[in-house]
Structures are given as C-alpha cells and as structure tokens.
C-alpha cells in the first residue's frame, strides 16, 4: 500500500507568503507537493467558512500563511486573522480537528526557506496523524 499523502489546503497572502512560495520555486528549493495553494490578498480575508469548507471537503490540514505582525500590507489583517484562527480552533477542536491540523504561520516574502520548512513539517505531522476524521464521512460531512 502506498504511503498516506495528506492534502493540505494552503491560503497564502499575496504579498508575503505567496511571494515566499514563488521564491522557493525560483530558488529551486523543493518542498512536498501536498500543499494546494490558494492565493489570497491577505491572511485577513480568509473567512472561517473557507477553512470549515476545506475540512468538510476532505482536507487533512489547512495552512494559512501571512505577513509577520507589523508587515501586513493592509496594516492589521494578519492580527485579525490570528484572532479568527484562535476562535475557529476552539470550535473545531471539540470534534477532533485541533491545532495540529490547522496552522497559521508568518512567512515573509524573503523567507523561501522557512516556507519549505513549514511545508515539510506540516506534511510530516499530518502523515503521523493520519487522514482527517472527516475524510471517511464522505457526503455526510457536506
């Protein structure tokens, strides 16, 4: 049987983390292909519904990447994102999706190496955890 390959839905802020992913690419830093990157203008525009929907549709993990505090191009979108992540984590945790599957990380445009590291770490963590508890629920979860 082939190894379990987790699916990670990654919402990356256009200005920092997405640029870092670009940089990782142009620097030929290879990182696990488990990330399905969705480019957003700011981590602060990731509606909790996007995250819930990703999990309901079978994501094993969700990663939100934004600019470091102080560097958000919309001044404080990332700080709002952080409160929302804390809130949503409290909700999802009660039914079996905790911090291990739902990450927020600050990754600046120049931090291609850090992007790779986070991708590697998260993929490894999810391999260890196994598939999301929502996965085998199929259409019930929708």
């Amino acid at each position: 049987m082939s190894e379990f390959e987790p699916k990670i839905v990654a919402f990356f802020c256009n200005w920092c983390t997405f640029t870092a992913a670009d940089l990782a690419g142009t620097s030929r830093l290879s990182y696990p292909p488990n990330l399905k990157i969705i480019r957003v203008m700011c981590s602060g525009m990731v509606d909790p519904k996007y995250v819930i929907k990703a999990f309901l549709n079978g994501a094993d993990g969700v990663l939100i990447g934004g600019c470091w505090p102080g560097d958000c191009h919309y001044i404080n979108g990332n700080l709002k994102a952080r409160r929302r992540v804390a809130l949503l984590t409290e909700v999802l945790k009660q039914y079996g999706i905790g911090e291990e599957r739902f990450w927020l990380r600050w990754i600046a445009a120049s931090e291609g190496t850090m992007l790779r590291e986070v991708a590697v770490q998260m993929t490894a963590k999810l391999k260890e955890l196994g598939p999301s508890p929502l996965k085998n629920m199929g259409q019930m979860a929708i």
Partner: protein, 376 residues
C-alpha cells in the same frame, strides 16, 4: 447600590400590584411606554408594548414563558429609535443578549429603562398553553418553583433554564425580585442611579433588603451550575467527534429557524440563504459523484459549524434555538458547550458587561503568540 422597595400582595394579587407599579411609571411620566409580558385575550402571555396607563391590567412579568426572545423585540424597538423612553421588562438571559446586541449597535439603550427579573425558568410555548389550560398562574409557579418544583403533569421548564446559572438580572436598572422575598411579597431592586430615581419617582417606600435573598440566590445559582457542568460533561462525552456531531444533526432540515430564534445571531442576512449557497445542478452532481450519493439539502454541518464560529462568543444559553427546532434537535447544549470554550479562550463572557469589547472587534500585536508559536 442596592435599594429596595417592597411590593406586598394578597393571594392572587401579585399581578395587580405589579400593574399598579407600571401604571405609575406611565402616569408620572417616568416612561412613555412599557414593554412587558402581558396576558392576551384568550390565552398566551406575550411581550406587549403598553403606552396607556389604563392598559396595564394584564401584566404578567413572571409568567413562565418567553415566546420570542425579548432581546429581538428590544432590537426592533430601538435599532431605529423613537427617541421616547421605554421601560423593558426582560428575563436575565434576554438582558444578556441585549448587552451583546447593544455592542453590535443593534440595540440602542439610550432611552431604555431596563427592568430585569428573577427567572425560575420558562416552559416551551406549547407547554405553557397546557399550563394555562390547567389553571396555572405565575404566582403558583413562583411559589412551587421557589420550593424546588417546576414540573407539571407532563411537562417541565426547558433544559436551558435547568442549567442556567444566572437566575437574577445583571446590567439592569431595576429588577423584580421574587427569590428570598418570602410569601406574599416581591421586591423591586434599584441597580443603577437611573433605577433608583425611577423607584423614587414611583412613590414606593424604600424598604430593607429581603432578608433571605442573597443566600437563596447563591444556593439556586450553585445548584444550576452543578446541573450545567453535569450536562456539559455528558454532552461532551457523547459529542466528541464529527461523526457524533453528524449524528446529532441528522434530523436537521436546514430550515434555519434556530438562527432566526437566536437573539444573538446578528447577521442581517444569513449567508446560508444567499446565492452563495444556491449551488448549480452541476455542482450537486459533482458532489454526489465524489462518493456516489449526496444527502439533500446539503450544507447542514457547514451551517452549524459556521453558526458556532459566528455567534458562540455571544451565546447566552437561552435555549431559544432548541425551542425553535421543528425536528426536536436539542441545540442548546451544543451551542453552550462550544460557547464555554470560545468565550474562555478570549476571557469573555456574553452579557457580562457593556464595556467589554467583543473579541472579534479588536486585535493586538502582542497577543495569542501561541497560535503561530513564532517570535521574530
């Protein structure tokens, strides 16, 4: 500040004395209107907006029913305010919801005199009809409930009230106190300066605090808290996975009554009734093909998880969601257990204070470092 006035009544005369108090408020011009539970023509007790002193006879503030959350009515009356003064007689949970709505600018408290009351519980609407048909009165309900008996032959107060640790009103100007007042008396307590002035204006004589009140309130709150924690533990043991949650929600038909009834579901238009969720036929076919079948209507779990995320920070535990569900889903424990966690995360408590900022309304640079675990 705690000032009291004693309202003594003969057997069968509680509402008459209360009516005299509200009549006084209207007559002496303390307020232009009173929103108060009132007996309707044949049956039911409903919140009623009374503007004429000669129409106060039917008031029944302690009737064990809350057909609609009074917080929603408070919002209708003040979100586009009349500029006139209204006294609102509301249950403790309704006032806590009012506090949250005021922060959301969906209630305007400028010209409102909030009158709380001791709450010993409410019946489901249909059970209240039975209670009335069987000759039940608020006075008898109070007497029995204070002695620890709330049940009728085949009904009891709703689950939410059994585990509500707030039997008395906070954040009100005045409060109608039934607990610890002894037989044949309720007390009107002034909790704010505005309340004190109103009490003075009403011409009622100040009295001693009801002797047994503090202790009786503490005892009742402690018993309710214990029942709450037991219920929470049971619920969490049962609903500890998404699969168990799906089981709990299996009967849901996405009618969205629960969010209509919820006093703190604050969106003017719920996203679940917008075009975002009017999926195309092609979309449904694609979902069905993923696992070979698709339950309709869809988005049930999505809806409830979203609601938990949106409003559990403000959940006041009123139980209106459970009461509203046409399919008998007991949503209250789901929302309350979740609310306990989300509110604790932000050291917030719904309805505790008008001054506390709602957690999603703010942010700070040096907080919640544990979320990312990163420091520069």
């Amino acid at each position: 500040m705690a000032e009291y006035a004693k309202l003594s009544f003969q057997k069968g005369g509680l509402n008459k004395e209360l009516a005299a108090f509200f009549r006084g408020l209207l007559e002496n011009g303390a307020v232009d209107g009173v929103l108060v539970p009132m007996a309707q023509n044949h049956k039911w007790v409903r919140l009623t907006l009374v503007t004429s002193a000669s129409h106060t006879a039917g008031v029944d503030p302690f009737a064990p029913v809350a057909a609609v959350s009074g917080a929603k009515i408070a919002s209708s009356l003040t979100s586009r305010p009349s500029g006139r003064t209204i006294a609102m007689v509301l249950r403790p949970c309704e006032i806590r919801a009012v506090v949250e709505l005021a922060k959301l600018k969906q209630v305007n408290l400028d010209d409102v005199l909030l009158i709380g009351m001791d709450c010993l519980g409410r019946y489901e609407n249909t059970d209240f009809v039975k209670f009335q048909e069987q000759g039940g009165t608020s006075e008898a309900f109070l007497e029995n409930a204070l002695a620890g008996k709330t049940s009728g032959p085949d009904f009891d107060i709703v689950g939410a009230c059994k585990i509500c640790e707030f039997p008395t009103a906070a954040n009100a100007d005045l409060s109608l106190c039934a607990i610890g007042g002894g037989n044949g008396a309720v007390f009107i307590e002034a909790l704010t300066e505005k309340g004190g002035q109103t009490l003075e204006k009403s011409g009622m004589k100040p009295s001693e605090a009801p002797a047994g009140r503090n202790e009786a309130v503490k005892k009742l709150a402690a018993a309710r808290l214990e029942a709450r924690d037991k219920k929470f533990a049971e619920f969490r043991a049962e609903v500890n996975s998404f699969e168990a949650l799906a089981d709990k929600l299996a009967g849901c038909v996405n009618c969205y009554n629960c969010r209509v009834a919820c006093p703190v579901c604050y969106c003017k238009e719920c996203v679940f009734i917008t075009d975002t969720f009017r999926h195309t036929g092609e979309q449904f076919m694609m979902w069905a093909e993923q696992s070979g079948m698709l339950k309709m209507p869809t988005d049930t779990m999505f809806y409830h998880l979203t609601r938990l995320t949106h409003m559990s920070l403000f959940c006041v535990g009123c139980g209106q969601c459970t009461s509203a569900c046409p399919n008998g889903l007991d949503l209250m424990p789901l929302f309350r257990t979740c609310a306990e966690k989300t509110q604790a995360r932000f050291d917030y408590q719904a309805g505790r204070s008008l001054e506390e900022e709602q957690p999603m309304a703010g942010f700070a640079t040096d907080e919640l470092i544990e979320v990312t675990g990163q420091v520069k």
